[in-house]
């Protein structure tokens, strides 16, 4: 697998997945839209935003504002590179892929925080602080449940973890893993019930001052981040490219799409909780559950 091949694969996954996510979100949550218009909605919305002027505020930190969407998109792509899509790739395998993924997902905090900081406006700044509180409280359970899948595989490489699920998916071996992963992943992508940094109670939060191409880039980068998180969920819990009859890459696409649609569904139907409640929930409920998951899975793997 060459670098160019990996790049094209990742780009195709991210763009296609972002489209699926946007359509699913529109079908589930759009008000008064028929089914056919939902399929053209992402394109319409993108061209609408691209034609809008890019507004600015008084004395913004322009460098940070320009950097943040590109950084978010870059992190989503780096996370996706660590995941095999079409099948085992001996050359392209990253031995510590799980750590690379975890590092990329933690730096999302940096991208979102500087995006909130940049416009020198109160509401985005509060959104940034909120997101910091969220990630600091669920970052550890997120890494823990992903790490738990490395125990039976005896490797930090995502390819090896996928291969080790040839007999049974880790969804069935570690039933606690996927729910915790999806909750924390939605929080890291500030999606669904956990879109507190962008909440309507903050009048848009971190995107309150963003418009035009900048907002379009940010939205796309966030959708790409959701795709990366779903790809990882599909790879470590649902067996990735493993499956009968169909080619490997199609299995990856199907499983990722299922997770994306699931996240779109829960994102639109669950009730939001306050950030204080969420911090408490992350430390007192999710973290002990993730530790239980680690030790029970370890016991089973013995």
């Amino acid at each position: 697998m060459t670098t160019l091949g990996i790049g094209i694969q990742v780009a195709a996954m991210l763009v296609g997945g972002a489209y699926v996510l946007a359509v699913a979100d529109r079908l589930i949550g759009g008000s008064g839209s028929n089914v056919r218009s939902a399929f053209s909605y992402p394109v319409k919305r993108l061209s609408f935003l691209m034609l809008q002027p890019v507004t600015t505020t008084e004395r913004p930190d322009l460098a940070a504002w320009i950097l943040a969407p590109s950084l978010l998109l870059g992190l989503a792509a780096v996370g996706a590179v660590s995941i095999p899509i079409g099948g085992p790739s001996p050359g392209g395998d990253i031995p510590a892929g799980l750590v690379l993924f975890g590092a990329a997902m933690l730096i999302v905090l940096v991208a979102v925080f500087i995006f909130g900081w940049a416009p020198n406006s109160v509401l985005p700044m509060i959104g940034g602080y909120r997101f910091a509180a969220m990630v600091l409280s669920i970052g550890i359970p997120f890494s823990l449940v992903v790490l738990t899948t490395a125990i039976p595989a005896e490797s930090l490489s995502v390819g090896t973890i996928v291969e080790s699920q040839s007999s049974l998916w880790y969804l069935l071996v570690q039933p606690l893993g996927l729910p915790i992963y999806l909750i924390t992943a939605a929080a890291i992508a500030f999606w669904g019930p956990f879109d507190l940094p962008e909440g309507t109670d903050l009048a848009g939060g971190i995107v309150a001052e963003a418009s035009g191409a900048r907002l379009a880039m940010w939205r796309f980068a966030r959708a790409a981040l959701m795709v990366t998180l779903s790809l990882m969920g599909a790879a470590v819990f649902l067996g990735g490219y493993l499956g009968p009859v169909l080619p490997g890459w199609l299995w990856t696409v199907i499983k990722t799409a299922v997770l994306l649609i699931l996240l779109a569904l829960t994102g639109r139907t669950m009730a939001r909780i306050r950030v204080q409640r969420f911090v408490w929930f992350g430390w007192v409920v999710l973290l002990p559950l993730a530790l239980v998951d680690v030790f029970v899975s370890g016991w089973v793997a013995l």
Binding site: L100, G102, F113, Y129, A132, G139
Partner: protein, 188 residues
Amino acid sequence: MNPGLLSYFLVSAFGIGAVVSGWLVFRTDSMLRAAYWLMVSFVAVGAMLVVLDAQFLGLILILMMSGEMTIMAIFMIMFMMNPAGLNPMTMVHQHRTSMVAGVGSFLVLAWVGVVAEFPDRPAPAVDPTAALGEELLGRSMLIFESAGVALLAVMIGAIALAAKRGRFGDADAGSVEPEIDVDTGSRT
């Protein structure tokens, strides 16, 4: 050992990145930028570790530092009068002494690094993470467990120092031990 030309190029590039961003930490007025320049320095060093076949250590360094630097930025905003550096400021003392100390320590250490002869025993190309795990659970188990105790001490110490609700009431209200109020004087 014979590292390839690409390794030399990557190490030089990341090295320049680490040094320049480390220098910018103390040259910018914005506290947020200072914190994130420091993070860039750590990421550059982490990338160098990846080039040196210590992939796990390099990536874990980046993972640790991204969280730590955001916390650092938040604390800077909390404690600085002028966190964004909207007015230029220099908050330095003993500038010349520090400059001399910095340059001096660089020269001494670089001289040692260049002049000293080191044995040439490169690391074998096996999975170093597994070796680290064996070391952690076997010979160095005591280090590992005492790190746990140290971290416990840090947690309790940090909370005891920083928590607003002290044992004797809120920190804002003094949080001091109530004086012993025993009436020993003569009754009137």
